[in-house]
């Protein structure tokens, strides 16, 4: 919450309170969108349900457009925003592993907690397995450490990498997003309907 400067600086204690409410709202909306069902989630890989990709792209678009407008009006201090460093190699490998885990397990980490919260058994199994996975990962970490930091690109954003202004990047991203919405709706019509 650091960068939101419109109401003055928010203290650390209030940050946690606000974070809890945002987290609850996030979990509620995920559940309400049906993200606690692994059949719905993996529909994106089989082509019968694209809710996941649509929700995430919509969220990204709302966030990016909102952030840029708020920055423009001086409500947000960009310089305080934390940009995660990009490790292109480990991100690619990790993405592939995560993708397979998603297809096999039927959840991503956040949605598994969502399923756990409403008492789904597969959600429980997935979450327990998740922690076992974290434990194993921490044990083998010394072995894979060299790969962990490979392809370091520093704190870079896509628009910086493409040498594009934020506004133009957002504009093209919005067009690509709408194109994805359209293409996914076409694919969905062609794929045989799955009842779940």
């Amino acid at each position: 919450m650091g960068p939101l400067t419109y109401f003055g600086e928010i203290s650390t204690e209030w940050n946690y309170v606000i974070a809890i409410f945002i987290g609850m709202a996030f979990g509620y909306i995920m559940e309400a969108s049906g993200f606690s069902s692994s059949r719905k989630l993996i529909g994106v890989f089989y082509g019968y349900d694209f809710a996941v990709i649509r929700v995430f792209i919509t969220a990204t678009l709302v966030a990016i457009i909102g952030l840029l407008y708020m920055g423009y009006f001086g409500w947000i201090d960009y310089s305080v925003l934390f940009v995660h460093p990009t490790f292109i190699f480990s991100a690619t490998i990790g993405g592939i592993i995560m993708g397979f885990g998603f297809i096999i397990g039927g959840f991503c980490p956040g949605t598994s907690l969502c399923a756990l919260a409403i008492g789904k058994l597969d959600g429980w199994v997935f979450t327990i397995a998740l922690f076992i996975g974290i434990f194993i990962y921490s044990l083998v970490f010394p072995l894979i450490k060299p790969y962990y930091n490979m392809g370091d690109m520093g704190h870079i954003t896509i628009s910086e990498y493409l040498n594009m202004s934020n506004a133009w990047f957002t504009f093209w991203f919005a067009i690509i997003a709408v194109a994805i919405f359209y293409v996914t709706s076409v694919i969905r019509k062609k794929v045989k309907e799955v009842r779940y």
């Binding site: 457009i65 991203f173 919005a174 919405f181």
Partner: protein
Amino acid sequence: MSKRYILLAVVFIGSAFGLVVLPDKHDTKQIPAEKFLIEIYNPARFLSTHQIAKRLIERDPSIFLVDVRTPSEFEEYSIPGAFNIPLEHILDEEWVDYLSQDGVDVVLYSNGNIYADQAWMLIAQQGIKNLYIMKGGVNQWFSTIIQPVEPPETASSEAFDLYAFEKAASIYFGGSFANIESATTTPIKKTVVVRKKKKKAAEGGC
């Protein structure tokens, strides 16, 4: 395709295009020119040498003197407790904490008014509060505090009161009314700068 989706797509592309056509954002940290002009004409940004001398004698901790002259001039003579930031380095990042202190009046001075005023304009435009200029600079300091001139006999009683203060201040600051002993023991206020906490970057996570 339903109308809602078309509307949503239009809203997204429209608002994203809005970002592209928005005029360039001006730096909101800078004070707008009209407002700044009013501040320039505000005489309250000047402090007289008497006011400053009085606060130094009282060891007022809420005053911070900044000497914007060159280091060699600063070596030659400076007001006790002053801190040297030459004019050409006044915008350097390392002095930001020194120049913007909460609850401390930062007073700039040079030999006359001009360099201090230039420094004031450069810094005050960044929105820094509690920034003052010592009117008349070191020259005025010498002619009022260090070597005060006796007012003519026809002058008002206020002028004589002021002269009495100047004489006392002169002794304090080791000027023409001071004997050698007191001149050597001129107290020098130690400069204490409270550094502001640096804002930590917010860390994120999935």
